[in-house]
């Protein structure tokens, strides 16, 4: 029974990673850059939600909407100010800038909200469900997180496969010049991608802090790195890959904490990643790009 409980917890935290990883993977797929500031957008989203509920006393759903709105705008602004001017420069320059943006966001949060941790109140009010005579407990947070994750993944898949904008994103992801020759505005497409990725990060931030209620300026960095790992694990650039990678990572992490060692759980997670990448360098669902010349 205990093992089932761990599995449920693992899927729950894994779903948070999956939502963050979806943002990483979309931005990587379309803008061809690793946005290391992505994790810190999560933190900003959580703080906005916290402020709206704790300081303004508004209902939880309003705080989620506010967090999504602020993070969407923040994502577009960061892309426009920090990354867009570097379009066409070596990817290392963009990567370093992303790390800079990450520190900037953390330090800005420290100035605004101080470095002392805030106690985040969960946005979920549902009572936990007990199964198997109380041996397994499914909290409202778990249900909401898993539901949100499935919803986000189905939504993104439909968006990229059915809509005009979504298809344009895939076109930009495959061949930027050819996409321009189709009349697709690449800058605008990349900006939209950042908006979507950052909105997802806000959702992930609220869910993360509802499960793990300590909120501080560095809250986003570790989940951000784990989600990045999850995206690589599943095959970066692939939407189902990010989802699978996130959930597997969550499960592996929970099981290693439960059965092996709490201190070494990250080391174990990353070792698994290394082994997987040795066997499948493109990640679990990564595409082996076939090219015909």
């Amino acid at each position: 029974m205990q093992i089932l409980q761990y599995l449920i917890n693992g899927i729950s935290i894994g779903s948070v990673y999956a939502i963050i990883a979806l943002g990483y993977t979309m931005v990587y797929g379309i803008a061809k850059m690793l946005n290391f500031a992505h994790g810190d957008i999560i933190m900003v989203g959580a703080y906005i939600s916290f402020c709206v509920t704790s300081y303004l006393g508004l209902p939880a759903w309003v705080s989620v909407v506010a967090a999504v709105a602020v993070c969407t705008v923040l994502g577009i602004v960061i892309e426009g100010l920090a990354y867009k001017p570097l379009r066409g420069t070596p990817s290392l320059a963009v990567l370093i800038t992303a790390i800079g943006v990450s520190y900037f966001l953390q330090n800005a949060a420290q100035l605004i909200w101080s470095s002392s941790p805030k106690n985040f109140t969960s946005v979920v009010t549902m009572k936990p469900i007990s199964l198997a005579g109380g041996k397994i407990v499914v909290t409202g947070e778990v249900l909401l997180t898993v539901a949100a994750c499935i919803l986000v993944m189905v939504g993104l898949t439909l968006f990229t496969s059915k809509t005009r904008t979504g298809k344009a994103m895939r076109a930009v992801s495959e061949d930027r010049d050819a996409a321009q020759l189709m009349g697709i505005n690449v800058n605008q497409t990349i900006s939209t991608t950042f908006a979507i990725g950052s909105a997802l990060a806000a959702v992930a931030g609220v869910l993360l802090c509802s499960t793990v209620p300590t909120l501080q300026p560095t809250t986003g960095s570790m989940p951000g790195i784990r989600a990045f790992t999850a995206a690589v694990f599943g095959g970066i650039g692939s939407i189902p890959g990010a989802m699978l990678g996130g959930i597997l990572l969550g499960i592996i992490e929970t099981f290693s904490k439960a059965y092996l060692s709490t201190q070494f759980s990250d080391a174990i997670v990353f070792s698994v990643l290394i082994v997987i990448l040795l066997v499948k360098p493109a990640g679990l669902l990564g595409k082996q790009i076939q090219e015909k010349v």
């Binding site: 005009r164 895939r170 076109a171 061949d175 010049d177 996409a179 321009q180 189709m182 595409k287 015909k292």
Partner: protein
């Protein structure tokens, strides 16, 4: 229709196009021929806005398009089928065509039918992933994709590259058909013989400069062209 004057293009410090001027009149087939590295593709990329010239001017349908970005140009009726086809390999044939019609907002069934009339094979394969098509089919798809936007001028970069002779003939027949249907063509080719056969006029490009120009027939019989590009 298209008028290029004294265009200079650089790749960093490398002076790739050294003052090229030429024009394409409405209803013409104009060919640019020349060896590898002469700058043929660079000229097309610069015209379509993927690159910008350092000096000189490009006018299309009486508009100055010298510094217009690539994504805006398709709306003015200028389509570019790039070298190496550059179709979206992970998308289906149908989706590639939809991307070609991106500027029309919606894909009209009539446009699809027109394209499938030219290239019936694509109709059979419309659900197939473009990366699984043969080289010839990919070239057909690249041309179809460009046709979806109803271009006035279609620039084709090496449409015969890497294709079997029978397919080359087929592609050139279709270029002639498109031309008959009213599309002006600017053709860049290494296959000089083929290009000169169908071109009304042609320019010979050597290391970034135009060295010869004339009608297709004139150039095909010129000694200099024969020696350098037609194998004696």
């Amino acid at each position: 229709m298209l008028k290029i004057e004294d265009m200079h293009v650089y790749y960093g410090a490398i002076h790739a196009i050294k003052g090229v001027s030429f024009e394409v009149g409405e209803g013409e087939i104009v060919a640019l021929i020349g060896a590898n590295g002469a700058g043929k593709s660079t000229i097309l990329k610069t015209v379509s806005g993927l690159m910008h010239p350092r000096s000189g001017s490009i006018r299309f349908c009486d508009q100055d398009i010298t510094h217009v970005d690539a994504y805006k140009l398709l709306r003015t009726g200028l389509a570019h089928v790039p070298e190496g086809r550059r179709i979206f390999l992970q998308m289906t044939v149908q989706e590639n065509l939809e991307m070609g019609a991106y500027v029309n907002k919606e894909v009209s069934q009539a446009d699809l039918e027109t394209v499938f009339n030219y290239f019936p094979r694509l109709k059979e394969r419309r659900k197939q992933i473009a990366g699984t098509l043969s080289g010839g089919e990919q070239q057909m798809l690249a041309m179809s994709r460009a046709l979806m936007s109803h271009p006035k001028l279609m620039m084709l970069d090496e449409p015969s590259m890497g294709l079997a002779p029978i397919l080359v003939d087929q592609i050139f027949d279709i270029i002639k058909e498109l031309h008959k249907a009213g599309t002006t063509i600017l053709l860049v080719e290494q296959n000089a013989r083929k290009a000169l056969q169908i071109a009304d006029r042609a320019y010979v490009l050597e290391t970034g400069k135009i060295t010869l120009s004339g009608t297709g027939a004139e150039l095909a019989s010129s000694d200099a062209v024969k020696k350098a590009y037609l194998g004696g």
